[in-house]
């Protein structure tokens, strides 16, 4: 006779197979949650090998802790950190760009930290401030980053200049001369279109605030920013810098070594890179200088990275211990020696390794004049809009006026949620 109508799925071998498969997969999925796990530590950019060295020393000091280091390229860092947050998969300790601290604080993703009064004083005040949100320190500064003028001394002196420029007009004059005279030169200045730092620095130098005081609306059409933006676009218009994106930077070091680049605005990590990639004979030929400003030596960005402990970490004490170890004087010195990353603590600066290095002189002086970008969680999105409109304007797809108008418009829109959350605090309006 006909069999019973319904056979439960599990009695059938395919069903059993599927069930077993799902079980295995489930185990594979869950396994990482329930065992004694090592500490996960994400570093951004090129600090990988230095960090691995330091981590080994940390593990020796703390034999019951294992640390797994994962290196994330800067280009994907912000995205990856947010994805990890959204997916409840944050690492225990992670490096975080200073401009992102307020964003992660708003998400409740980072644990607040406490420092002894002595340690607090040791940090450069501006740097500590950039990682402080509403009075609470949300990440511990690990290294500072600011942008400086790197230049080829010999190219300048061949063109008749004995000292680096200190004002915008001097700089422009030098680049004009280099562009017109030196036949072997390909680029007077390297300014990739995918970076927001240069136009922002020029803006901050002319006194622009970029956003209004409460961070509610964009102020990219202010007179001071207009001036700075114009100077920036002219760098391309006048042929000082070629129109190129980050992806085409593959031959940067060769070009610099071959004397095909005169100026490059970049950060301290390139001190280490230049040491590593350029022949020693070139050591005396390149130097660093404080950024030229509108009327004299100008300000630069108060950037850098800090170390943060994830609010969702299940091993907070071990995480805090790792952060403490990484920010000790000895660790910071090792970090500097291997990568050129500058320490955020004054005491470390007085170490002979740093105080005697010529390229660092300019950095030391620049650190007295650094300005932070507006501390809003939306900063990274705003920066991407700056990049977009700066590029369109540099390529003459939009006039400067139109670009800044569109930029303000987009930024105002980006900040709309923030305005709603802060309702009542935003007093000034959008610029019509």
């Amino acid at each position: 006779m006909a069999q019973r109508l319904t056979i439960p799925l599990l009695r059938l071998w395919p069903g059993r197979l599927v069930a077993v498969l799902m079980g295995i997969l489930g185990l594979l999925g869950c396994s990482s949650e329930h065992q004694d796990t090592p500490l996960s530590f994400w570093v951004l950019g090129g600090e990988g090998s230095a960090v691995r060295l330091l981590v080994e020393a940390f593990e020796q000091e703390n034999p019951d802790v294992r640390v797994i280091v994962q290196q994330i390229p800067w280009s994907a860092a912000h995205e990856k950190l947010l994805t990890a947050y959204a997916g409840d998969a944050m690492p225990d300790v992670f490096e975080i760009g200073n401009t992102w601290v307020s964003e992660f604080e708003a998400l409740g993703a980072v644990e607040s930290l406490t420092l002894s009064a002595r340690e607090k004083e040791d940090f450069f005040s501006g740097i500590l401030d950039s990682s402080t949100v509403q009075g609470r320190l949300m990440a511990k500064p690990w290294y500072i980053d600011t942008r400086l003028l790197f230049y080829r001394r010999d190219l300048l002196s061949r063109a008749g200049f004995d000292a680096p420029p200190t004002t915008w007009s001097e700089w422009i004059l030098m680049m004009e001369t280099l562009r017109d005279r030196d036949a072997g030169l390909i680029k007077a200045l390297i300014a990739p279109l995918g970076e927001w730092q240069l136009p922002v620095i020029l803006g901050l130098q002319s006194g622009a605030t970029l956003l209004d005081a409460e961070g509610c609306f964009g102020r990219f059409q202010s007179a001071s920013f207009r001036v700075a933006f114009h100077v920036y676009i002219e760098l391309y218009d006048k042929g000082f810098a070629p129109l190129m994106g980050d992806a085409q930077m593959t031959s940067l070091y060769q070009d610099f070594a071959a004397g095909r680049i005169a100026f490059y605005v970049t950060g301290p990590w390139n001190i280490g890179e230049f040491h590593r990639r350029l022949p020693p004979s070139l050591e005396s030929l390149w130097a660093t200088a404080v950024m030229p400003g509108p009327t004299g030596p100008g300000a630069s960005l108060a950037g850098g990275s800090s170390l943060a402990v994830s609010a969702s970490s299940r091993q907070k004490d071990k995480a805090l211990a790792l952060v403490e170890f990484m920010t000790r004087t000895k660790s910071l010195l090792t970090l500097y020696q291997m990568t050129g990353d500058l320490p955020p603590k004054r005491s470390v600066w007085s170490d002979p390794i740093l105080s005697a290095s010529p390229p660092l002189e300019a950095f030391r002086r620049q650190l007295d004049h650094v300005i932070a970008t507006p501390k809003v969680p939306e900063w990274e999105q705003i920066a991407s809009k700056i990049i977009l409109y700066a590029e369109r304007s540099a390529r003459h797809e939009m006039t400067e006026e139109a670009a800044l108008l569109a930029l303000d418009h987009d930024v105002d829109r980006l900040l709309s949620k923030r305005r709603w959350l802060l309702s009542g605090t935003c007093h000034q309006g959008a610029v019509p």
Binding site: L12, V18, C30, A76
Partner: protein
């Protein structure tokens, strides 16, 4: 077929030229992956390495955990293939040979859904996978990958040609539908199952966007995700990236060359019969 006497040589020349164009990037990929830094510095760039070296492949496995990524890709692709073959063949059989209410309209609905781009589902799917705690797990990729309307369609198409009398005879003998499925249908569908298996495996192996979103830890990366990561970090090292690329495509190319008959036949069955 049209007769085209006299133009025979021309056609062959064109075809050979086109074949060279189709194959050249792969040739170049392998060639560069074997070049030393000295070879790369030569100008004009040589077409073949002067001193071929395996150092880049070595570096991939020793320093860059390529073996791990290979394993991840393999396990995930196998997982998707086996599980989707199972559930889709069952459904394909039901749609082809069993009668139930709403069968045809349900099938048409499924077909219509093939128009919807998968990206539309990804945003909430991410949130869902996160709630299930499956971020950065194999299951997070395998489970959404199990359902495939195309697979159901292919199998149904194929099974329609199985004579009803065969199945009825089994039913008269007292076999239940599962028994029929297991002992009759599965063996009979071997060709289409192989086709579908090849499709699914290759599709999962090459999948990029979803694993990119779901996998946050390096040790879980599949080959395409790892390769994209490599592109970001080692932009100054073309040989390394080429070696990574070769490793990524090698398994599916081999699979295709061995089983192309099944793959192409399955493709045609799905396409031409509309």
């Amino acid at each position: 077929m049209r007769d085209f006497k006299g133009g025979g040589l021309l056609i062959h020349v064109i075809l050979v030229a086109a074949a060279l164009l189709a194959l050249f990037p792969f040739f170049w990929m392998v060639s560069v992956s074997l070049m030393t830094a000295e070879d790369m510095a030569l100008f004009p760039p040589p077409l073949m390495p002067v001193h071929p070296t395996l150092q880049h492949y070595q570096a991939l496995f020793d320093e860059l955990a390529m073996g791990r990524y290979l394993l991840n890709s393999t396990l995930i692709a196998l997982g998707v293939t086996i599980s989707s073959l199972l559930i889709n063949s069952m459904a394909g059989y039901a749609f082809a040979k069993l009668h139930f209410r709403g069968r045809d309209s349900l099938f048409r609905l499924l077909l219509a859904m093939m128009v919807i781009p998968s990206q539309a589902a990804m945003l909430p799917l991410f949130l869902m996978i996160k709630e299930l705690g499956l971020i950065n797990t194999y299951a997070g990729i395998i489970m959404p990958g199990m359902s495939s309307v195309f697979g159901i369609f292919l199998i149904r198409q194929y099974l329609k040609s199985v004579p009803d009398s065969l199945l009825d005879a089994a039913r008269i003998d007292g076999a239940g539908e599962f028994r029929i499925y297991r002992s009759l249908i599965l063996p009979l569908s071997k060709p289409v199952l192989v086709s579908l298996a090849v499709f699914t495996f290759m599709g999962s192996w090459n999948d990029f966007m979803w694993p990119l979103i779901i996998l946050s830890q390096e040790d879980r990366y599949t080959l395409p995700v790892a390769l994209a990561n490599l592109m970001g970090e080692h932009v100054q090292d073309p040989q390394l990236m080429m070696a990574g690329a070769v490793l990524t495509i090698l398994p599916v190319v081999v699979l295709f060359l061995l089983l192309q008959r099944y793959y192409l036949e399955g493709l045609v069955a799905g396409g031409v019969k509309d």
